[in-house]
């Protein structure tokens, strides 16, 4: 604020006749909440670039290192896979899932952030539906997270994964669904947490196990019984399986071998892609319902 008296320039008001306010529909409200998150995300392109660092590190160091150690496909138990198939190609779709997971959780933190900076009040007193706020937040975060996954597709050629138009077209909606499920989960949690520290603590506690148990880094086959059970309860597993199936199948690997390597199994039942999608959709719906409830019951 400048020192000295502020001179107020008084312009004579031209009276404008104002039509009554229009009511804001649920869809419009969702759009507005989403739109704000997207503006903020886009403005913060440094973050967009920086958050690629972690998945790239996993690919470039962890992936390359483990590929060298494991050697060729035999170690992955992929009968029917070509000799050129290495661990890094297996891991690549998992890293897409990881990029989505981390960004989704991080973006859900914006609810806690908004509370700390007071903007949540502006949102919650507005004459719009609280459910729309929850849905808008989940979609906003999902857009960011999915975009992050999509950007990671650029690295496919560097790890020897051949992408086709069809596989890309299949993968994008799958990444978005996974992103939406995880952001809904994040929003459901962040709507109840008051502090940033609390959110980070809860999320660190949940995020890493969700990542490790998702099958991003190793096939979900032949694991000890307790771990097999845990992996089947990890929603991320149901996102990574169809993404991997689409990418590796699209890369010309025999589909039967790919399915054996990638699918989630329950007993002898091999979960098909349609059911993966169903599980993710159901998980999203449940989390969103919790998030909406939390928002409705807040002052």
């Amino acid at each position: 604020m400048t020192a000295g008296t502020t001179v107020i320039t008084t312009a004579p008001p031209a009276v404008v006749t104002m039509p009554p306010r229009v009511s804001v529909s649920m869809a419009q409200a969702v759009y507005i909440i989403w739109y704000r998150d997207v503006i903020r995300f886009w403005r913060d392109r440094v973050r967009l670039v920086m958050s690629l660092a972690q998945p790239i590190l996993y690919l470039a160091i962890f992936g390359v290192g483990l590929s060298s150690t494991l050697g060729r496909s035999g170690s992955l138990g992929g009968a029917g896979l070509p000799a050129s198939f290495s661990y890094i190609q297996f891991m690549y779709p998992g890293v897409l899932g990881m990029a989505v997971l981390f960004t989704a959780i991080f973006s859900a933190m914006s609810v806690v952030w908004d509370r700390e900076f007071g903007f949540l009040r502006e949102i919650l007193v507005a004459p719009i539906s609280r459910s729309a706020v929850a849905l808008g937040k989940a979609l906003g975060g999902a857009t960011q997270a999915a975009l992050q996954g999509v950007v990671m597709l650029v690295f496919a050629p560097f790890v020897g994964v051949h992408l086709t138009v069809v596989s890309v077209v299949e993968v994008i909606p799958l990444l978005f669904l996974l992103a939406f499920a995880l952001t809904s989960f994040g929003v459901a949690i962040s709507a109840r947490l008051k502090t940033m520290q609390g959110f980070q603590m809860v999320m660190n506690f949940l995020m890493m196990p969700m990542f490790f148990l998702s099958g991003a880094l190793f096939p979900l086959r032949g694991l000890p019984g307790w771990m097999t059970v845990l992996t089947r309860f990890d929603p991320v597993a149901y996102g990574i399986a169809p993404v991997r199936s689409a990418i590796l199948g699209g890369a010309g690997l025999p589909q039967a071998a790919v399915d054996r390597l990638t699918s989630v199994t329950i007993g002898s039942y091999i979960v098909p892609v349609g059911v993966d999608v169903g599980v993710l959709a159901a998980f999203s719906a449940a989390m969103l319902a919790i998030a909406m409830r939390s928002f409705r019951h807040r002052d």
Binding site: A11, R21, G118, F119, V125, P127, D299
Partner: protein
Amino acid sequence: MTAVALSDRPRPPAEDTRDLVIEVTGLVKRYGTVEAVRGIDLAVRRGEIFGFLGPNGAGKSTTISVLCTLLKPTSGTARVAGLDVSRDPDGVRSRIGLVFQDPSLDIQLTARENLHFHAMVYGVPRAQRGERIVAALATVDLSDRADSLVTTFSGGMKRRLEIARGILHAPEVLFLDEPTSGLDPQTRANAWEHLGRIRDTTGLTIFMTTHYMEEAEFCDRIAIIDHGTIVALGTPDELKAQVGGDIVVVSTVDDTLAADEIARKLGVTAVRDGDTLRVEVQDGAQFVPQLITALSMPVKTVTVRRPSLDDVFLKLTGRAIRAAEGEGRMGMMRAMAGARGRR
């Protein structure tokens, strides 16, 4: 620059008591066993600047929160813009503007984007958004900073932007909860100039809480609230007239003895306020010579002045508003702790 009026309603005569924008009857708000608001009645006319004055914790913020539908009243009724706050909270919310005590801007967005967001959630028709945003920014002298990120704004600019946001959707009442707390005196005066101008050009009704006496002077009418009840209501002049005459403030080397002598020899009561004694008299100029003669100890200072709202508060509650601050805050904290524990 073409200024666009931020309200389409012409300013009606303030005497028209049928045109009430806020009507509160028997309002009670209880947090557990603590009564933060204990039966308030008030009516605010269209186009008024109405001030709610009292120490922190007196029940101001609770009352304003009920009027803004952020809290449900325990009993009593409140109508804002013709709608009942309990029965139609959404309707009320779309007809009021709010400026909170704490900042509530998105500092990562520009001033214009903050207003655009607000215009959208409050259903300002698309065709009017741009024009209204420009007008609102001009009203608070922020036109040249429209596209700057709010994170670069000073406290005073943020407050002005919040005022602009509060009037953007042409509300019938603008509620401000301690609108100038945390601002330096000059910035505060500047915020008031803007609010006064908005009222004068648009006829908007403004309802605000404050614990700054000087601020209350800007209001058309004031309700003084203490311990959850309204202890006085009227124009600043009417309230000051209750004190009557002049205020003489005297400071001596022994105020206790001085108070005793004033009561004994001059027949008036001296009220202690910090390091000074305060006496209400009909004619200050006549009283001072008598006072000096009456006091046996050396007098350090004597001041004669017209009554202020501080004096009104002191007269009505027996203590200065500054002294009431501490205890009020404690009471409020107890109330909040009680409410939280029961959840």
